[in-house]
């Protein structure tokens, strides 16, 4: 669905390239978790994917079309929820009437349902600028999901959401996801989204450190208390004793601990790369 090939990009040449010869493939039917440290380039990658930034070289294709052309067929099938955004001084009703026509599959019924999931009630006359940051985010996400675009990209969607809303957000993603859609969620809040991901992509300064399915992670790496003789890739001290990310043997399968996976990948990228590139 998305083919990112040989991207090179910098905001300022003096500080070098943020991306250099960066390539990545994203397929329909998956919810991707895009993880990376601060400044790793997650948001920049998202802006490059949505045609908001122009690469110095290389290209991003969505369904074979360069996103930078911002063709109507691309833009009407792609929705971005940025980390921070302003909404105009309008009622929700007015906002929808102006913006929904750009999205042929927008459904008012869906939006009402998603507002309900977020417990935002059905008042379309609510003034967008009068909402709190968390409420604005929920209303905007309800609109985003209701556009029914095949591609939905969200930058830190759970930032600013209260505790019940995080669960509501997961419900929204699992309700709306289907085999012809692709969602990409960039985040630091790994605990919020771990269970809804199909695929995890960890990037760091132009490099894709890990790009694999959650099922693959489960079969290759175990996250558990350490035992004698273990050769852990990453160790974390805990009140229960040392926990670790250990190569999985003999069909051992544990719940993926995304935080540990992320730390393991950044601390020991070679070992992770070797573990995940060997044939199973």
């Amino acid at each position: 669905m998305f083919t990112i090939s040989n991207l090179t990009f910098s905001y300022n040449k003096r500080y070098g390239d943020l991306f250099h010869d960066f390539s990545l493939e994203l397929n329909a039917g998956n919810v991707y978790g895009l993880l990376g440290k601060n400044g790793a380039g997650k948001s920049t990658l998202i802006y490059l994917m949505t045609g908001l930034l122009t690469p110095a070289s290389g290209e991003v294709l969505m369904d074979g079309e360069n996103v930078r052309k911002r063709l109507p067929k691309t833009m009407s099938d792609l929705f971005l929820v940025p980390e921070e955004f302003d909404l105009p001084r309008l009622t929700l009703k007015k906002y929808v009437s102006i913006n929904a026509p750009f999205y042929p599959r927008f459904s008012m019924e869906d939006m009402q349902r998603y507002l309900d999931i977020f417990e935002m009630g059905g008042d379309l006359h609510v003034k967008l600028h009068a909402l709190s940051m968390g409420q604005r985010k929920k209303v905007f996400m309800a609109f985003a999901f209701a556009t029914n675009t095949r591609v939905l990209i969200m930058d830190e969607p759970t930032n600013g959401l209260d505790i019940p809303s995080k669960s509501q957000f997961r419900k929204l993603v699992t309700t709306c996801m289907s085999d012809d859609k692709m969602m990409l969620i960039s985040t630091h809040q790994v605990r919020d989204i771990s269970d809804i991901l199909d695929h995890v992509t960890i990037i760091d300064q132009s490099r894709v450190l890990l790009n694999t399915g959650m099922a693959d992670v489960t079969s290759r790496l175990a996250f558990r208390p350490l035992r004698e003789g273990d050769q852990p890739i990453f160790v974390l001290q805990s009140p229960y004793g040392p926990l670790g990310a250990v190569p999985a043997h003999d069909g051992e399968e544990t719940k993926v601990d995304l935080e540990m996976l992320f730390n393991a990948t950044l601390q020991n990228p070679e070992a992770i790369n070797q573990l995940f590139t060997t044939q199973k």
Binding site: R170, T175, L243, V256
Partner: protein, 120 residues
């Protein structure tokens, strides 16, 4: 981190369905929620739930009727009990016995403890 927290999610979901079958919330030849329904309900990725259903189907706990979805196998209860028994013997029991040994509980004491427990 206890044993349950540590299990792969798709297996935790399988346990949850197993619990529902044992408690009678899901009945023999009764319909199991669709992959998407359950995914939305428990806020877990649909492919993970699909994996759970594959696993349950392979172990004969549920079966599929083309186009109609998944149903509880008539012998699901016995199969779940057997598989849980095996799991207990291989996993938790080993840990439990290790703990008994570490604090020096004798087989005779253990027998007495278990008898008292059953008599409660």
């Amino acid at each position: 981190m206890n044993f349950k927290d540590n299990k792969a999610i798709y297996l935790q979901i399988a346990d949850r369905i197993g619990d529902q079958i044992l408690s009678g919330a899901l009945i023999p030849d009764g319909k199991v929620p669709s992959v998407r329904e359950l995914a939305a309900e428990i806020e877990v990725n649909a492919n993970t739930v699909a994996r759970t259903y594959d696993h349950l189907q392979q172990s004969g706990v549920i079966y599929t009727k083309r186009g109609l979805g998944y149903f509880v196998d008539p012998d699901a209860k016995e199969k779940i009990v057997t598989s849980r028994r095996n799991q207990l013997m291989q996993g938790e029991m080993d840990y439990f016995l290790g703990q008994l040994k570490a604090v020096g509980i004798t087989p005779a004491e253990l027998q007495q403890l278990y008898q008292d427990y059953l008599d409660k």
